[in-house]
Amino acid sequence: MTATHALPRHDRHSRGPGGLPRLLQAMDLDAHLAAYGPPPYRGPRQLIEVVAAAGLTGRGGAGFPAARKLTAVAEAGRGAVVVGNGAESEPASCKDKQLLGTAPHLVLDGLQLAAEAVGATRAYLYVHPHPRLHQQLGSALAARAAAGLDRAEVQLVTAPPRFLAGEESAVVSRINGGPALPRFKIPPVHQRGVAGAPTLVHNVETLAHLAQIARYGASWFRAAGAAAEPGTMLATCRRADGTVEVVETAIGTPLGELLRLPDLPAQAVLVGGYHGTWLTSAHAAALPLANAALRPAGAAAGAGLLAALPHGRCGVTEAVRVVRYLAAESAGQCGPCLNGLPRIAAGLAELAAPRPRPGIRADLERWAGLAERRGACHHPDGSVRFLRSALAIFGTELTAHARGQCTATSSRPFLPVPAGIPASQADWT
């Protein structure tokens, strides 16, 4: 369906008042104040009500209703703490970094409003170590302090470059001064988190949406997206031509449109990130970026990573690299994950080599079944999901590999996978 409007269909819905893009409009404090004014402090109940009416869900990957999280922390007791989680940790995703670099004041407004909603006087902003970004954020915070905008004191905390660093309980663990390792969820973070206090952890994009909902209301937010999944989201689109673009799009936009699949054909699409799901290109092209349609396909929007693997690349090799990375990034705290993931990584490498042992496929499936849902966090679950979808989608390629062949024409890696394996406490702090 072609759009009759001058703007592409999804762009039309991602404009805010005045025609500005909702989120990714670069603004320093003066521009921000000119466009939005100061944070609209109106009392905790009002904010939670409007967020509930807007139906905002978390944009960090889990998609949990934001209003419910706010309520849980607000009711958990006094001395609550708020954390803006900017450590997206997903090597292939860069939406949080882009948002923080472009529109930090929307995020920081959201952080203050969330703090008011739960009665918090202390707030933290948790970000991976990008030196320039840290400097920019520090300046932004100083400018806000000088203008007297913030009520809760904000501390910038560095997240280590680990895949699990952005996991909610790992965030809390790091802010508490220890390594960024996940912990068992009893008691949950919203009851006991930073310094034992009830803690609200929200992805920075969620906070940015919150800052706009507080000003423009629920109906404005719901003007884009679908009834069950309203609003816009940031999607990191890695297209088959190698370009990477963070796009602000209405939920429900077709994946084919976001990845420009008709112009830039691909052999397969990874939806959601390295804990996500591979789909065939044909299947993906027909799906919208919305959980209602993605879940029946075994996928989820997650934190909005979409990667189109071009023809001529080897999906098996990509999967082997990613699965090894996922195994290396295990916290190593839980028996099933520590035992399962390294074996799975080695097993997949074996399966990708010529003439693999006949029982290796069964071993992989057994290890996957033993690892999933038996850790303190969802790392083994997500890794197993990625593995299973790769085995399904790249079955033909695996068969070729078994004969010692590979259909790829290029051996250049496509998906970004960091080198190096963490091996000390310093790697986690």
Binding site: R183, I186, G335, P336, L370, A376
Partner: protein, 67 residues
């Protein structure tokens, strides 16, 4: 009221007493770690379950109210 046996996987070091004390709900995987059935713990198994919780050398088990 039914209860649910839960393990803290970060505390568990695979001693395996739980599987001996409550085989109706716990088996060990090939690496020595407990696979706990999602079935609730009924009254007649409650005593054995409590013993498993108390005797676990790593204090990794707990009984929580079944939702």
């Amino acid at each position: 009221m039914n209860q649910q046996l839960r393990v803290n996987p970060t505390a568990c070091t695979g001693h395996g007493l739980c599987a001996e004390l409550l085989p109706e709900r716990v088996t060990l995987d090939e690496w020595g770690y407990p696979v706990i059935s999602a079935d609730p713990v009924p009254a007649q198994l409650a005593r054995a379950a409590r013993r498993a919780v108390t005797d676990c050398p790593a204090l990794a088990l707990m009984l929580v109210a079944d939702r």
